[in-house]
């Protein structure tokens, strides 16, 4: 019942990183054996680990026993990776029903750490880790942090909140494993964060992308030039962010901004991370199997499709999870990456499947529209989508609050702006939208947040 990390754990990590850097200065690969394994070897390993995981959950987790037997499924039916799609999904609701420890596959005496994630409604979900789970988590965090450019010479400033959330601890142990110096400053107190950044010479920043913007804003206000700090790289996660936001952070803070992905139900940060080529996040497939499904039908979609990411953990002991519906919309790219890693890359998440709208049969996500607006406005847009049905035809209207940047005194320019927006939306969404400019503050906000979608089709 123990999955040994082959390769990396045995040797001295800092020495190993230095060796790799000497070999190839730009590669930054923590665990070459596993990260660059041949696809054949990887798939064989995945199947073996999947079968072991299924056997264990079938023995120890009643929720899975019931799900499998309800479908008349035997664990022995899974003979190939293709067979994974025969298995039932696990949803957030399953986790809620089994609150707090119902999904654990080991006795509590083997659990050495507990984390949890907040739910927007009802109870949070509780996850546990055995000693071996933590060891693997640390290795995977070290992988993506190394890929982002963190080395033993770095001073890693962790501004995620330390607590029940997985973010801070995941990166904390990953950075220590690499041999970097960790500043566990936690979240909050922006002025103090900036002072410490200046005085302690933080070189790697760990926080949410929006907090990175807050830091940049505050520095600007205080007349501090971020380019004169020691910061060189940012590891941002915990919330979706756009490519535009990445460029803005990179410019303002004078750093390389990298993306990573993880969710506590599956492990925490370290499920996937970006390499220096910034072309999607490598999912660590020797520990997780990724699928893309149609969020409506649950069908597995052909390679390259955009859909909901479904993850299966194949090495976790305390809290294994089978076909977890992440609700995150993305696309997987299996093309070999220039960095040499063989693991599949997931694109930045494009939104939550819960927010998905189906307009004229096309899947549309509010975040896609937000991105287009962000591009043309250069700042956070205020908008609302109104979907109606005209006979049998769906119509989408995008109401955009006007501001000084997108308001012209010439009608010709104003109309050209609206036309340009409509064209861009059509090319991004694949479905036509009418753009309507409205006065500022005319879109109703609830507790500061605007209601993004008004769907009048079923009323």
């Amino acid at each position: 019942m123990c999955w040994k990390e082959s390769g990396s754990t045995a040797c001295n990590p800092s020495l190993k990183t230095i060796m790799i850097q000497n070999e190839n200065k730009t590669t930054n690969i923590w665990d070459r054996d596993n990260e660059c394994m041949s696809r054949d070897g990887l798939e064989t390993l995945q199947l073996e680990r999947l079968q072991q995981t299924l056997k264990r959950v079938n023995e120890h987790v009643p929720c899975y026993q019931n799900k499998f037997s309800a479908l008349g499924l035997s664990v022995a039916d899974v003979q190939s990776l293709e067979d994974l799609r025969k298995l039932p999904f696990t949803t957030k609701e399953d986790l809620r029903l089994n609150y707090p420890y119902g999904m654990f596959a080991v006795p509590m005496r083997d659990v050495v750490r507990i984390h949890s994630s907040s739910g927007t409604t009802g109870k949070p979900t509780v996850v546990g880790y055995t000693r071996n789970d933590l060891k693997i988590w640390t290795q995977l965090a070290a992988r993506f942090m190394t890929a982002a450019g963190v080395t033993p010479d770095d001073i890693v400033h962790i501004a995620f909140g330390y607590g029940l959330f997985t973010g801070a601890f995941g990166l904390h142990y990953g950075a220590e494993e690499i041999g970097a110096s960790v500043i566990p400053i936690s979240s909050g107190n922006t002025d103090k964060q900036i002072m410490i950044m200046q005085d302690y010479q933080s070189s790697a920043l760990v926080c949410t992308p929006s907090y990175a913007m807050t830091l940049a804003d505050r520095m600007e206000k205080q007349g501090i030039d971020p380019h004169r700090l020691s910061l060189k790289v940012g590891l941002f996660g915990g919330e979706p962010w756009s490519e535009e936001m990445r460029r803005e952070i990179e410019q303002r803070l004078g750093i390389i901004a990298t993306d990573n992905y993880g969710l506590s139900e599956v492990m925490g940060p370290g499920v996937a991370g970006e390499c220096q080529h910034q072309c999607g996040m490598h999912i660590f497939e020797d520990h997780f199997i990724a699928e893309i499904i149609d969020p409506e039908t649950g069908e597995v979609l052909p390679r390259g499709s955009i859909g909901e990411l479904v993850l299966t953990s194949i090495t976790k002991e305390a809290f294994p999870i089978i076909r977890y519906r992440t609700r995150d919309i993305t696309r997987l790219d299996y093309e070999p990456c220039a960095c040499g890693r063989t693991h599949v890359r997931m694109m930045k998440t494009m939104g939550r499947s819960d927010d998905m709208l189906i307009i004229k049969g096309v899947n549309v996500f509010p975040t896609q529209i937000e991105e287009v607006l962000f591009q043309v406005e250069g700042c956070e847009p205020h908008y609302q989508l109104v979907v109606e049905r005209d006979g049998t035809m769906d119509t989408l209207e995008v109401q955009v609050e006007v501001n000084e940047r997108i308001f012209f005194d010439e009608m010709k320019k104003q109309r050209a702006f609206v036309n340009m927006l409509e064209k861009r939306l059509l090319s991004i969404l694949g479905v036509g939208a009418r753009v309507k400019l409205v006065e500022p503050s005319s879109i109703t906000r609830h507790e500061g947040k605007a209601k993004r979608v008004i769907d009048k089709r079923n009323s």
Partner: protein, 173 residues
Amino acid sequence: MATNTLKMGIATPSVNVLITSFYHSILGETMKVEQISIFIENKSGRLAEVTQALGDSGINIRALSLADTSDFGILRLIVDKTDQAKQSLKERGFTVNKTEVVAVEVPDCPAGLAGILKVLDAGNVNVEYMYAFVERCGGNAVIIFRFDDPEAAIKVLTENNIHVLEGERVYGM
């Protein structure tokens, strides 16, 4: 350029150019008129709210034009106190921009405007839009022009002896 040099009666060409450009920049600044434009959604009462807001702040409207579509309109105003007007409208949640326009005196005779447009066309100056001023100036009409390049427009007009009104004069009319 030639006309100005002659008028000013200066001999050396290098000094000529210098003084001419200096003359133009001064001319450009005082000759331009500030206009505010306001985004208005096409729903009843919004125009009244704008005029009410200005009235409450003791601001007089000198000229006005509205361009609209079925969804929204762009209201352009020339007022006696531009910055104050902009501030007061922004406080009421309107989107307001400030632009520079040129007020031109148009002879009150047949083809008066046509003559001016001809001059502008010959000088390669583009007119984005124009509208009439409420007040007259010594029996002549006043037209507000929005040009893509106001400096060039003022130069062309003055060189052709067409009277451009100074900003200060327009606000006080």
